[in-house]
């Protein structure tokens, strides 16, 4: 490929168009969040609540203002209650996974033991099955533990999901055997090897699991929908769509604030996220 051919230019143009389409939703959410009440109702009222007429498209607001954010901050305590619920759920799941999934993944990646193949199969199966299949069983056990309609109802089953084990065991398996042999010769115990070698070398994998799990549970819809009934316990992912219908003027600002923690975390850990995801794909 010494010369850039016409074909190459066409390909790059398609790529550029694709890129614009990919970032479009975020850009539109941002710009629309800066619209005043009147402008929002003018452009989006027709769709989001029944103001009649048709939607209008404006890439930039005519009169940019932070009004929507101010209103959201001062006037909607329910929104922040929901925000807190989301934070508790996502934080709880991530913390729990850090403890359990990392250990389990280390065992699956680094030890040979009877029943390993069966366990791998089990985790794969749990990875593939959609939430709805285990919904009833989860409900039954949470009911008998009297945990329904509490944060724990979402957090506890979330901790034991299979995806972190899958990703982590891949990135632990990538640690060269020689390093571990060397540590053994130096007299490190099994747990010492895990703490001193496994955790530091598997750090990109662990970071990426933290980020992916946070994104996953910040975004959780099915689990809270099934296990939480009290309105005041519902996380943002369920509260936001309700709110959008009620208050058009803050809809976009609320969406932006909702995605902010997830996107910030994504940017902070982007590099290790890519490494971790990549490690899960290579054998």
């Amino acid at each position: 490929m010494k010369k850039t051919t016409i074909w190459g230019i066409v390909m790059r143009m398609i790529l550029a168009v694709l890129l614009i389409l990919m970032v479009m939703p975020l850009v539109m959410l941002c710009t629309n969040s800066l619209m005043g009440k009147r402008e929002i109702i003018e452009t989006c009222g027709a769709v989001l609540s029944d103001y009649g007429g048709k939607a209008q498209f404006r890439l930039f607001p005519q009169y940019p203002t932070m009004r929507a954010y101010v209103r959201l901050l001062l006037d909607s305590p329910e929104y922040f209650a929901a925000f807190w619920n989301s934070a508790v759920i996502a934080g709880g799941v991530v913390a729990g996974q850090l403890f359990t999934a990392v250990l389990a993944a280390w065992a699956l990646a680094r030890y040979d033991f009877p029943g390993k193949a069966a366990l791998r199969f089990l985790y794969m199966l749990l990875l593939i099955l959609p939430f709805q299949v285990t919904m009833v069983s989860g409900y039954l056990v949470l009911d008998s533990l009297k945990l329904l309609d509490t944060y724990l109802a979402v957090i506890l089953p979330g901790i034991f999901s299979a995806l972190p084990v899958f990703i982590l065991s891949r990135s632990f398996a990538a640690i060269p055997k020689e390093v571990i042999e060397a540590a053994k010769i130096d007299g490190a115990g099994d747990f010492g090897i895990f703490i001193r070698i496994g955790v530091p070398l598997g750090r990109p994998g662990i970071f990426s699991v933290v980020i992916l799990s946070f994104l996953e549970y910040w975004n959780a819809v099915e689990q809270p929908l099934t296990y939480l009934k009290t309105e005041s316990l519902k996380p943002l992912s369920l509260y936001l769509p309700v709110m959008v219908k009620g208050e058009v003027q803050t809809a976009f600002a609320a969406s932006i604030i909702t995605l902010l923690p997830a996107v910030l975390l994504f940017f902070c850990g982007q590099e290790s996220l890519e490494k971790g995801i990549g490690a899960s794909g290579s054998f």
Partner: protein
């Protein structure tokens, strides 16, 4: 303590949770799937029959299957294409840096690599955006009075209600691809980055073009990546329920009425018999599928080991190229051994010598002069 004992100790916290929250309750679900609705009379397989006779079940199953069958290949191909594009752009940037060649692209971009990593972020960012946030945008876009119909109006087409017609399926496809393109792209890019650059250089010396390089070097070595990427795309395919639910609620248009909707509605209506029976069926089906896929992968890997297939490329720039492509190396490839052999073969081929037969699984690239 023995090694396996320690392994179980590491596994204990997670396994305990999994057994408590998933396995034991699931056995209970299985038990209930054979019981009556009221009381606890044993009814055998009649709940299963009820599920299999249920029209909604077949509709949902067919929709889910159709969704997966359309989305996964589409996503895999698109993300692979994007990944290859990025890789070739990055390579061009590197070559420019080393001052070997300069394409039109390289000339314009000083910090090409930086720019590429920023563009990459544009593709991966959607996976961080929660469904609840972006659903507002999708509503604005696809509503009957929304932006897409506005655009259609400008272009002189008749608008339509995208969410409440057969198009709802394609709306969901778009949502799925938008969300997962970045994730799959990363997987592919890691796979591509693992391929030795020397292989491409050797092939280029022999006159192979970009496409030949891709087809005979990149693709065969991405098999393992493809397997995992397809698996994870499948897993993520079920998560599209979120967008579907937030966009259209419990009972969407029948073209996107998925198994997830059906299960959810049975759950809400306390139709426990059907729900438990269907859940058991799905676990069984997935288990069989997984087992079959695993066995197939293993059989293919062992069958192809040591076996070489000769594939000749199409003519390129007037010079016929012949590659001996090792078709086998499907799943676990032991990298160092593999790379070492490859290296030797290329040195031989690269220097225009006759490729000597030195190994059982060696890849050779010899040029046959016409």
């Amino acid at each position: 303590m023995s090694g396996s004992g320690k392994a179980y100790l590491f596994l204990l916290p997670n396994l305990f949770g999994t057994v408590c929250f998933v396995l034991i309750p699931f056995l209970d679900v299985f038990r209930r799937s054979c019981l009556q609705a009221v009381g606890s009379g044993f009814v055998g397989l009649s709940n299963y029959c009820a599920v299999l006779e249920n029209k909604a079940f077949w509709l949902a199953a067919a929709n889910t299957a159709r969704f997966m069958a359309v989305c996964i290949p589409l996503l895999l191909l698109l993300s692979l294409w994007v990944a290859v594009m990025f890789q070739s752009m990055a390579d061009a940037g590197h070559r420019k840096r080393r001052g070997k060649t300069s394409g039109a692209w390289g000339g314009r971009r000083k910090n090409g690599i930086m720019a590429i990593s920023r563009i990459k972020t544009g593709f991966t960012l959607p996976m961080a955006i929660p469904a609840a946030s972006v659903v507002v945008f999708f509503q604005m876009l696809f509503d009957e009075k929304g932006w897409l119909n506005l655009l259609a109006g400008w272009l002189g087409f008749a608008g339509r209600d995208w969410l409440n017609g057969g198009c709802a399926f394609w709306v969901l496809v778009v949502c799925y691809i938008w969300k997962n393109l970045g994730y799959d792209m990363i997987l592919w890019m890691t796979g591509i980055a693992g391929i030795e650059k020397e292989q491409y250089e050797a092939a280029r010396v022999q006159g192979a073009g970009g496409f030949a390089c891709f087809w005979y070097i990149t693709l065969p070595q991405l098999r393992a990546t493809a397997y995992v990427t397809a698996l994870l795309s499948f897993v993520n395919g079920f998560r599209v329920f979120r967008e579907a639910y937030l966009l259209s609620g419990d009972y969407p248009h029948e073209s996107i009425y998925m198994l997830q909707h059906l299960f959810n509605n049975w759950f809400v209506n306390l139709d426990i018999q059907k729900l438990t029976a269907a859940a058991s069926l799905l676990v069984l089906a997935t288990g069989i599928f997984l087992f079959a896929a695993g066995t197939l992968a293993r059989v293919l890997a062992s069958e192809n080991r040591g076996k070489r297939r000769r594939v000749s490329t199409s003519e390129h720039k007037g010079k016929p190229l012949h590659f001996f492509v090792n078709s086998g190396e499907s799943l676990p490839v032991s990298a160092p051994e593999y790379k070492g052999k490859l290296h030797k073969a290329e040195e031989l081929a690269g220097h225009g010598e006759k490729p000597a037969d030195t190994g059982k699984r060696k890849r050779r690239k010899g040029r046959k002069d016409s």
